[in-house]
């Protein structure tokens, strides 16, 4: 029997992985992927909670919206990364240090 805690643990792992990727990886695309992971962790939580803890479908609806939003965000994000690549000819995150005090 799959319990709530299993889902929560998985989502926690997803979350931590996502954060770690965002912090650690140097590729902009990888960082965007990290964002997706974090969002998916949340979406998973919603669904799991909706299934186990509550009697409504709010969580399910929420996770659907998350998927849509994540897609939109990824689209915009990739567009910006492409723009960045066109200008800098790299997607290495450390190149984005032009703006500073």
């Amino acid at each position: 029997m799959v319990s709530l805690s299993s889902y929560l643990i998985i989502s926690m792992i997803l979350f931590v992985t996502g954060i770690t990727v965002m912090i650690g990886r140097k590729s902009l695309v990888a960082i965007l992927l990290g964002v997706e992971l974090v969002m998916n962790a949340a979406a998973l939580n919603f669904v799991a909670y909706s299934r186990y803890m509550t009697d409504n479908l709010d969580g399910h609806v929420f996770s659907l919206f998350i998927i849509v939003i994540a897609a939109a965000e990824a689209a915009v994000g990739l567009a910006i990364v492409i723009r960045f690549f066109q200008i800098k000819e790299t997607i290495h995150v450390d190149e984005a240090t032009q703006l500073r005090n």
Partner: protein
């Protein structure tokens, strides 16, 4: 006798009016308005003379006084009553002072019209001279310490202006500041003493202070652990020391001769320096209960002797007179200290007369030959016969030769001092006071006649100067004032007897008038007088005529007891000694400077002579060490601390702190992230590197780390 305010006020107001007229219109008036000044002072002389006449010849009572007050300003609100009354207080002493001040001042003004005739500061001089006089007259008239202080300061200002009248000369400017500042040292203490008395006793009117002393209000009151009477008396005496040029605040007086000679005459004789002694006399009861008399006597003795020694080596005729003034003021203070109240006051008057005359004579000499240095004079008695007569009489007076006024007054002081020092059972060390007094008297006789001989006798040392000296003619403005003053250097005016010791009486019933009329304030008589603390109806006239009392020393004074035969002995011994000392001093001067049979011992003590010439290095210590090195150094240091240190670092430092904070923030971004983080050595990033085995980090990611860390810490803080 009733006095309306109109018969008293002109004494003070006439010279003030003269000042105002001269200040505003002096330049437009003929002769720059000098006649206005003379007239103003003369009017006050007329009114003073009337009061003097009434007091001395009309009433002839020791306790008669006039006291009128008016409210100056009033701070009363609801049930708090506090107001400041000023008033006029004339007793015998004040009446005598008024006559002396206005009389001497009139003559000095008259003389000045001649002396200053072609001077380019003529107008300015005659603006301040009447103000100066009015300051002194106001001081004498006032019934309380506050008004006294105000006039006291006005005189300080006038002396500043008169001494610095030739301000284009460097020394004049310095001398004027020195005069003002040195006296100001005393003044602020006088103010302090005044404030202390006022706030504890509730009034600074003389009568109220006397009443407070009689009622014991001073007992048990302390200021900073010292009894109030001692504190206040000491502060006031410091004020008196400043104005009356007592050691160690005497340094300004010699320099005060930078002004025109008649101005010096006014400062040295009738007005400013007299104010200090006058204050000491007014506050004599306070000095007594404050146990300050011994201190005063010792200070007086040191001043009297020390100034006399310095006078020995002076070559400038005015400098000799200046130091003699200090010395004589020392005698007056000895008089105050030893309880010789009457004689001290008499010496104030006699000294004023002969010192004014001496200065005017010196002025006459200087005006005639345009030279102040005595070594360049000599033989002038033929050229300046009237001046010579005047100066000789005055010198005899100051030396204490019988029949002259100085003998009467100074020898009474010395007699009392002799008794006080040797016979009154005091600390034997205090015998130093009469010893210094007599030694000073000898020196006085010597240096005065040194001056006389160098100036008027012998052969001209500088023939050129002698030849160009103007001959003297009798004229109202140039030498009649001298001669008038000369007349009053005779002793019988004051003593009523030729010798001053009561042997040959010439004035009948009024013989010894001075001695009878002037006595130390008997505080007990004031015990019931109305206090100022209660509101008075204004204008109030408290003219009281108390029963005539025979001169009778009350117990409670440290002064000599007239019943004691010892004092008589002391006076006789003192008089005899004085005469001997005076003549021996004159004789020694004669031997040294006319006969030349005694060599001056100067060459044997070059070091001591140099010390004397440098006036015991007081000026050096004050100006060069205390002021220039100490005070200015401290000032510069503090100013540097203020702007260079405090303002720059502590105040502007706040801006710097902000900038540093900003730099830290920037450094965080740049160094930690770029240098440290990118190179893989930064602490935070490096930790992640180790854990995650991911090689590098970047700026955006640093933001992430910060965010996570802070968020984590928020959660941690909130939940545990």
């Amino acid at each position: 006798m009733e006095y309306s305010i109109g018969s008293i006020a002109p004494i003070f107001l006439a010279p003030v009016l003269a000042f105002v007229i001269n200040a505003f219109f002096g330049r437009k008036l003929p002769r720059n308005g000098d006649w206005v000044a003379v007239l103003g002072v003369f009017i006050s002389f007329i009114f003073s003379a009337r009061i003097f006449g009434d007091f001395v010849f009309g009433n002839f009572a020791t306790d008669y006084y006039i006291h009128k007050t008016f409210t100056w300003f009033d701070l009363s609100f609801a049930d708090q009553i506090w107001k400041v009354d000023l008033g006029i207080y004339i007793d015998n002493m004040a009446a005598i002072m008024l006559l002396m001040v206005s009389g001497v001042a009139t003559l000095i003004h008259l003389f000045s019209t001649w002396y200053m005739d072609h001077d380019h500061r003529h107008g300015r001089f005659f603006t301040f001279l009447p103000l100066f006089t009015s300051g002194m007259l106001g001081l004498v008239l006032s019934d309380n310490l506050l008004a006294l202080f105000m006039f006291w300061e006005v005189m300080g200002f006038c002396s500043y202006s008169l001494i610095g009248i030739y301000y284009e000369k460097e020394e004049a400017g310095n001398a004027s500041i020195k005069a003002f500042m040195t006296t100001r040292v005393g003044d602020v203490f006088l103010l302090l003493g005044l404030v202390a008395v006022w706030m504890v006793i509730g009034s600074v009117t003389y009568t109220d202070i006397y009443a407070a002393i009689a009622n014991g209000s001073f007992e048990g009151k302390t200021v900073l652990g010292i009894s109030l009477a001692t504190f206040a008396g000491f502060c006031m005496f410091l004020g008196a020391m400043g104005k009356s040029a007592q050691f160690p605040l005497h340094v300004w007086l010699p320099d005060a001769m930078m002004g025109p000679t008649p101005g010096s005459a006014l400062i040295h004789a009738a007005t400013m320096v007299a104010a200090g002694v006058y204050l000491s006399l007014r506050m004599y009861p306070l000095m007594v209960i404050g146990d300050l008399t011994t201190f005063i006597a010792v200070i007086g003795a040191i001043t009297a002797f020390g100034a006399a020694t310095i006078a020995l080596v002076q070559t400038d005729i005015k400098a000799v007179l200046a130091f003699s003034t200090i010395s004589q003021l020392g005698y007056m203070m000895i008089g105050v200290g030893v309880g010789s109240y009457n004689a001290a006051f008499m010496h104030l008057i006699t000294h004023a007369v002969f010192k004014a005359c001496l200065f005017l004579s010196a002025g006459s000499v200087i005006h005639s030959i345009h030279e102040q240095q005595m070594p360049k004079m000599g033989g002038l008695r033929k050229k300046l016969p009237y001046t010579f007569i005047a100066m000789l009489c005055c010198s005899l007076a100051i030396a204490g030769v019988p029949f002259f006024s100085g003998f009467v007054s100074k020898d009474r002081i010395l007699g009392d001092a002799l008794y006080w020092g040797f016979m009154a059972g005091q600390n034997p060390m205090l015998a130093i006071v009469p010893i210094l007094g007599f030694a000073g008297a000898f020196l006085t006789a010597f240096y005065m006649f040194r001056m006389m001989f160098l100036t008027f006798f012998g052969k001209p040392r500088d023939q050129h100067i002698y030849d160009h000296a103007h001959d003297e003619h009798l004229s109202l403005t140039s030498n009649v004032p001298l001669l008038i003053l000369t007349v009053f250097t005779l002793g019988f005016w004051y003593a009523g007897s030729l010798t001053g010791q009561g042997f040959v009486k010439v004035m009948g019933a009024k013989t010894e008038w001075f001695k009878i009329l002037v006595e130390a304030p008997d505080v007990k008589k004031f015990a019931d007088s109305k206090s100022k603390i209660t509101p008075l109806v204004e204008p109030t006239t408290v003219t009281e005529k108390l029963p005539v009392a025979v001169y009778d020393h009350q117990t409670g004074y440290a002064g000599p007891n007239p019943d004691d035969h010892k004092i008589h002995t002391a006076h006789v011994v003192g008089a005899a000694a004085s005469v001997v000392i005076a003549f021996s001093g004159i004789f020694l001067a004669f031997l040294m400077y006319v006969k030349g049979s005694v060599k001056s011992p100067r060459s044997k003590f070059p070091g001591f002579v140099r010390t004397l010439q440098n006036r015991y290095y007081f000026d050096h210590v004050y100006v060069d060490i205390i002021i220039k090195k100490g005070l200015l150094g401290l000032n510069r240091f503090l100013a540097w601390v203020d702007m260079g240190l405090y303002d720059r670092y502590a105040v502007d430092g706040w801006a710097k702190v902000n900038r540093v904070m900003f730099k830290i923030a920037k450094w965080f971004d740049n160094v930690i992230i770029d240098a440290v983080g990118v190179d893989g050595t930064g602490v935070a990033v490096n930790l992640f590197n180790l854990v995650l085995r991911i090689v590098q980090s970047g700026k955006i990611q640093f933001y992430f780390i910060m965010l996570i860390v802070v968020l984590g810490s928020y959660i941690w803080t909130l939940n545990f």
